[in-house]
C-alpha cells in the first residue's frame, strides 16, 4: 500500500523501463516527479529502493548515444531468423512452434526498432552520479528533458537577496 501522503500529494510517473524489465528481476525502475525533487524507484525483487535528486542539487544531466539499440536489433533479428528453421519441419506442431517463436522474436525486434535509439543517461549531483535507465530511449529522454530541465532551472535561479549581494 502506498503511503497516502506521498502518493497523492507528490509523485507523478514520468518514465519507466520497458516491458521486458517487468519480467527480469532487479531491472525494473521508474522515475517520478515530485514537488521539488525527482524520485528514482528501483525494484529489486523483494525491495523497492528510492533515490531522490533535489532540483537545487542537480548539477548536470549528461547523455551519450549507445549501441544497445543496434545490438538488440541484431540479436532479435538473428533469433527471428533461427525461428524460421522450424518451418523446415514437416508437421503441424513444427509450424505452431515456429509461429510462436517468430511472433515473440518478431515482436521484440519491432518494439526495439520502434523504441528508437538508446542513450546512456547520467544525473549528477555534488555527491553522486547515477544512471537513469528509464529515460534511455530517445523519445523518453526528450520528454524527460522537456519536463525536468525547466524545473531545475527554476529551482536554481538565484534569489533576489543573493543577486543583490
Amino acid at each position: 500500500m502506498a503511503d497516502k501522503t506521498a502518493q497523492q500529494a507528490h509523485y507523478r510517473k514520468i518514465a519507466s523501463t520497458g516491458l521486458i524489465s517487468r519480467l527480469v528481476p532487479g531491472v525494473r525502475s521508474d522515475v517520478y516527479l515530485g514537488d521539488d525533487h525527482l524520485l528514482h524507484a528501483k525494484q529489486i525483487m523483494l525491495f523497492e529502493k528510492y533515490r531522490r535528486f533535489y532540483f537545487s542539487d542537480i548539477e548536470a544531466i549528461s547523455f551519450s548515444k549507445s549501441n544497445r539499440w543496434i545490438w538488440f536489433s541484431v540479436v532479435w533479428g538473428f533469433l527471428l531468423f533461427c525461428s524460421l528453421f522450424w518451418y523446415l519441419g514437416h508437421g503441424t506442431w513444427f509450424y505452431v512452434v515456429g509461429a510462436i517463436f517468430s511472433f515473440v522474436f518478431g515482436g521484440l525486434l519491432i518494439s526495439n526498432l520502434i523504441g528508437g535509439p538508446t542513450y546512456v543517461v547520467n544525473i549528477q549531483t555534488a555527491a553522486q552520479i547515477r544512471r537513469l535507465r528509464p529515460v534511455e530511449r530517445e523519445k523518453q529522454l526528450v520528454r524527460f528533458q522537456e519536463i525536468v530541465v525547466p524545473m531545475i532551472m527554476l529551482a536554481q535561479q538565484p534569489t533576489v537577496n543573493q543577486a543583490a549581494v
Binding site: 500500500m1 523497492e48 531522490r52 555527491a127
Partner: protein, 158 residues
C-alpha cells in the same frame, strides 16, 4: 538525498558565539528545521531546502515518507512463496506450509506495505488466490497418495 560529500571544516567558536549542539567547540552555522538545535557545518544535513540534524533524520526515517529510502514488497514475497515451491520438489513436503505463509503475508502486507509510489494490489490478490489453490491441491495430493497406498498396499510393499 542527503549530501555525503565532505562538508566544510567547522569553524571553532569564540566565547560570544553560539556552539553546535553535537560539537560544542564548533561555531553554530545553521539551525535544525525540526528540533531547532544549533548545528555546525559538519552536522548540517541538507534535504532540499531543509536543514536537519542527524538525530532528526534518524527519527524521521520511520515517520515521514520523505526520508524513507526503501520499502519491502510483501506482495512479491508472497508470490515468491507461492511459486517457488511448486517449481521444485519442496511442494510435495511443505506445500501447505508455504501457502499458509503466503496467505499470512498477504493479510499482513495488505496494510503494512508502504511504498512511496502507487502500487496496485493485484499481486496480493493473485498471491492469495494461488496460495488457496496450492493448499487445496496439496491436500488433494496427500489424500490421493494415502488412498493409493490403502487401495494397493501390496504394490507399495505393505
Amino acid at each position: 538525498m542527503a549530501r555525503t560529500v565532505a562538508a566544510p571544516r567547522p569553524e571553532p567558536r569564540t566565547e560570544t558565539e553560539a556552539g553546535c549542539f553535537f560539537h560544542t567547540g564548533s561555531r553554530a552555522e545553521n539551525v535544525c528545521n525540526v528540533c531547532g538545535r544549533f548545528l555546525c557545518s559538519l552536522c548540517t544535513l541538507a534535504f532540499g531546502s531543509q536543514k536537519l540534524c542527524p538525530d532528526c533524520i534518524y527519527k524521521k526515517r520511520r515517520e515521514s515518507p520523505l526520508f524513507r529510502d526503501q520499502a519491502i514488497l510483501f506482495d512479491n514475497i508472497a508470490l515468491l512463496l507461492v511459486i517457488v515451491p511448486v517449481l521444485c520438489f519442496l511442494y510435495i513436503y511443505l506445500g501447505l506450509l508455504f501457502s499458509g505463509f503466503a496467505l499470512a503475508l498477504v493479510i499482513v502486507g495488505w496494510r503494512q506495505q508502504r511504498t512511496l509510489v502507487p502500487r496496485s494490489k493485484y499481486r496480493f490478490v493473485l498471491a492469495a488466490g494461488l496460495s488457496l489453490i496450492e493448499a487445496i491441491g496439496w491436500v488433494a495430493l496427500v489424500w490421493l497418495i494415502v488412498w493409493l497406498i490403502q487401495s494397493h498396499p501390496t504394490e507399495f510393499g505393505l
